[in-house]
Symmetry: D2
Subunit: 403 residues, 4 copies
């Protein structure tokens, strides 16, 4: 039986993995190399410095793992906390939920602040909980910067202020998987202790390389051994110590995924060439254009107020009575458009347009047109062309680059 070819390219508008620039794909097309050769550090060493640009950090330490983002989350917890330690977190979507789940499974004592899906972390409530924790039992505050499931961005700077105002020494862990490299991130200014990223989002690479940026404070704690060694969350692969021993010489304690290292080098060059501020600005403009289309369609986003709007992904509420999953499936089957599905609480209620990574106006407008067509085909009452009209008018007024 012959395959049936779908003409043209797939239009990938999920919130990651993101579109990979051709030059990055090219850079990854490499033969094997000896990762112990004298020439290898010339590739590796600059990556530890250059990757910091997207974290907004000078002082932090970068650690790479062949791993997805989940592994990096785990490394943050396993290297700094002991079994039974108390951590504080807010939960307002699938990814913040999963982080809670992980912490619990690792044996941590997790204080969960549940927020409505469509909102984010509440700095006031966090400050309150910390102030109440007078004997500093809470060892870490964990926040998901950009909740991919609902298209909501939390204000990490405000969380930091709340921690400081409470005079609390807790570590601050931030999941920046769907924000870092796309949204402004200020590791040093916000005094984040562990910032967690994955290659397949703002880095514009395939999945497979987890990236951590750790503060000096986090590193120091990881070295301390904890109050009684056998209570530490014993991990070896994700133990930073093995990395920290070898990385400074330009090597790794394991065999690194060579294509991703070359890809990372090229992706960071792309970011530098565009300018990190232009990258952030572009994400904002494309996101706002998407929101203009949503408004023109007469629909609502999952984000409950503009202040929660994410500039990397927009979760759109399907009108009452329409199955969002059907729209997604139809968009894929008929128009080769990949949209993000609603997860968990919002399954079937939302579809998501990811607008992060290597993207420009016309690609986005194609996707908006496609979403519109899929909705109409599925019975949603939307004026044909209305989304593109609104988005394109906005885009004409707002250049992607600030020059």
């Amino acid at each position: 039986m012959a395959a049936t070819r779908r003409p043209g390219r797939n239009h990938l508008f999920i919130p990651g993995p993101t579109n990979i620039p051709d030059r990055v794909l090219r850079a990854m097309h490499v033969p094997s190399e000896d990762h112990r050769s004298p020439d290898f550090p010339a590739l590796v060493k600059p990556l530890f410095q250059d990757a910091k640009i997207v974290f907004g950090s000078e002082a932090g330490t970068i650690i790479f793992y062949p791993s997805s983002g989940t592994g990096i989350w785990e490394s943050a917890l396993a290297n700094t906390l002991c079994r039974g330690d108390k951590v504080l977190t807010a939960r307002y979507g699938q990814f913040s939920h999963l982080w809670v789940d992980m912490a619990q499974r690792l044996g941590l004592d997790v204080i969960v602040q549940d927020e409505a899906w469509g909102t984010g972390a509440d700095p006031e409530k966090i400050g309150e909980a910390l102030r109440a924790d007078t004997d500093h039992k809470i060892k870490a505050v964990m926040v998901v910067h950009n909740e991919t499931a609902t298209g909501v961005t939390s204000d990490i700077g405000a969380v930091r202020k709340a921690i400081d105002a409470a005079g609390h020494p807790a570590l601050l862990f931030v999941d920046g998987i769907s924000s870092i490299g796309s949204l402004p991130f200020k590791m040093d200014e916000w005094k984040v202790d562990c910032a967690i990223a994955g290659s397949q989002k703002g880095f514009m690479l395939p999945a497979g390389l987890g990236v951590l940026c750790a503060s000096a404070k986090a590193i120091k704690i990881s070295e301390g051994g904890g109050a009684g060694g056998n209570d530490r969350l014993g991990h070896v692969y994700f133990a930073w110590s093995d990395q920290l021993k070898q990385n400074p010489t330009g090597y790794f304690p394991y065999t690194p995924p060579l294509p991703l290292l070359y890809g990372l080098r090229e992706a960071l060059t792309c970011i530098r060439e565009e300018g990190i501020d232009n990258v952030y600005h572009r994400h904002h403009v494309l996101a706002e254009a998407t929101r203009q289309a949503v408004a023109a369609w007469g629909l609502k986003t999952c984000a409950k107020e503009p202040k929660w709007n994410s500039d990397t992904v927009t979760a759109i509420l399907a009108p009452e009575g329409v199955d969002a999953a059907k729209i997604i499936k139809h968009a894929y089957d008929r128009y080769n458009l990949s949209l993000g599905a609603g997860l968990s609480q919002v399954a079937g209620k939302v579809f998501r347009i990811g607008h992060l990574g290597d993207l420009n106006e016309l690609s986005l407008l194609g996707a908006i047109a496609g979403a519109e067509m899929a909705m109409i085909d599925c019975g949603v009452h939307v004026t044909p062309g209305s989304g593109v009209a609104a988005a394109s008018s906005y885009l004409r007024e707002n250049p992607l680059s600030r020059g």
Copy 2:
């Protein structure tokens, strides 16, 4: 000085080179090979048969040259005609003009039927000229199937009928560079003697491989040596004889461009998997959607009547007083959209949207949105979203594949 990176991909909507499917690009990423190895014919031989699918031919003979399409034109003339021979052709655009020019420079006696740009070959006039040529001095009729400059397709079947009705033995040469592989082409049914194609259009490959399909009649004449050898249009590289000697064994008289051979094999597989009739249908639907957008904008195509409409490229007349070149430049600079320029007579008057090759709805809608935005930015009065609204409504009703 650092380069400035443009984010996202270029939107390529010129009438060739066309977008290359990823899998075809991949197939071309090959190390060098011995083109005299025992295994080489296994790659080469099927290409001579398989390439015929896009010519609508069983009886023809395929010849490949490392060359652009211009070289293939020349090979058609050089192998079958003698200096001073009379040929008949119609001229209605830049590419038909260039073919006239070539024939004249080669020393042929060219009878030119000038038609208005925006129309095509006139079978009646051709028939008339042939009937008047009672002693059969006219050795060949040359027709450009799809005039890329104006977005006009001529009716080759009707030309063949006119030739037959005149009972004239002239050869029929057809430039199918921007039609073959995209528009229905019926080499055998139309009794075309030389059909000329280039890799960078319907074949969805980079430029560099010229493809000819020759009839048995043309081949026979090429072997004849002409009425007095030294009057033949002496060519060596483009002499078919060298090819015809080696090709049947799976080899070439020159070193072939290996990546293009592998690419061709993959591209032909793509075409087979989609189905050649689906390929033609898809080109028609995307072209019609484009024309719907043009109509919604209140603009006119260069093609003067619907019967001339090309399904591979639409040339759009800019409104009076607006410089089409400015629209094109703006579309490229601001939106990374590559449109085709007006050439020669229509320079500055038209811009062209190429809609051939590996393409689907949402890519096209992105381009339509971009053309619209560029026009508005340049002062054309167009309702935002109108083009996409019209095109997308048409596309929703008309699936690309007939299943």
Copy 3:
């Protein structure tokens, strides 16, 4: 300052990462895809079945992780053992050493049988230890199949027999990182419970994908929750349970490294096309040719007896008074030949020739010639051409393929 280009290719003869076939590199050159799309399982599902060929397993369950081999080791321990559990292992090289270290760091109680480097696991001693463990405190036996540091292969079949003869229920864990896909491996026959492999060796891929094959017994234990949940080696990323929930439907609990999945599919096709028995035979013939060269040079391998010879890597003892590290550096600097270094106990004493992965006679002979030249340049008394003479004579008599 301009870079200085080294002409020609690097000759990679380390024991992994191995050379990647061009077609596998090509297969990995892919754009991003939605790993939740309806089409995704068509890629993924067959991999779980097809990958078993190199494990010699029908009954096992394959689990993939974006990870190096070290992570897979850890997953084997973390999913089946509890803190304080007793495990038995033999140590005879750097990689068996590292496994001991990991087990200890994870809080296991490790019984180590030290064997001379250059030998391997001693089934008799293992049997003895098991027979002595009358109350079955030993939960697992851990064996490194092919000790990459010394070029030694242990007899896993014999270890199994020893376990069975002792009537002991311990699990059998085998590190097959530098053997699986290159040396005969019989998971089912040997009743291995966890077989551990990495993409960058016999799979002929870049590093980044860890591959585990687990027995039904191991899976069952992993599901049991242990004798008191909080004693389990709490891990989340490497918890099989999350994988086992999603894998049967063709999805993953994390974003998978897409290029490696496509690469794996192509690499498995390569293996099938060559025939797994031919793959094993080829590795044996190339290894034997290497040993013939070593003998002709008048040198000795690290493997103390022929029965320990590894067919994937040969560790060669430099003559007294010659620094093996100098030979390796010179081979790289002068001849662009990458050899493996001696590790730990044998640092400076051995250099290693990896002869696994995608390789044939002439590549190996080039490397043998290069090793010879480097040795002579470094003052080793070796007859020029002697290694190639011996190896090539053997290779002429012993075809790579058994047809």
Copy 4:
């Protein structure tokens, strides 16, 4: 029926196409682009200057054609000569033979000086013929610099001296297809009027791009129109005039083969990074090592005296009674080694080792080992290892780079 995979890479030692550096292959993996875009000249313009490095020219003009080398030969003749013009050439191998054939088929009056195969052009005889041509009827002298069929390099500097000594104004055309980029070439010093190269040799690219370097004198003559236009060798595709009109602006009169342009840019960067003098030196050292192997085997080269030795290809005479074609076939079938066949007069008598392009010591030694094994298998009496011993001893003493 499943394909049978051959493990490892093919060892390509034909005199072209040559091995392509990985980074050049990568550079060619590009999507389509508008070859009329404002950005295009930034790619194209430097190529016209940078390509001159391999011609040893500052004053010349580069012209590129999508074509094999044969087309470039034809363009040299067609743009400067008229039908019936007299040209002088020497013939001493298959490629000099083919050039004679082309000139004759184009209607030129060719004076052929036949030299023994295994020797080259005789400057004295050429000088003699020119001196005898007192009324300067001879319009051009055509010389094949490196006769690929016999592994013979002619002395172009000496030919130039002979022309000058004769005080003759004839143009000097040099086929440098298998020399340019590999052997020292001094276009300006030797006052060559047309130097002809193809992408698939010293440029380390796939075939498909012909490269010409023309002197000001040749260009001027091409513009002259000849003594009576209709006697010119009418060609259009290969007419320089169309190129010369567009090239200075960074465009082409035809659609250029984009991947080859990007590949050329990268290949020229490779050459610059290695240093053109190092490139020449490396070719000499590798060639001399090959000849040392031949001598150690007790065999003879086709080149009759050392002064004719080519540094890009060595043609080796099989011993009496042994069919060289059998050796070649066996080397390919059994060892995946591609050697060059004997052509025409020397078919079955010689096999050729190409040692040009991107190559280093160990690749060559692998090929020498393979040739030796193939010969022994075919009954040639050769001491195993003797070729590698001799070649490697030479290579140890003679570094590839002069630093």
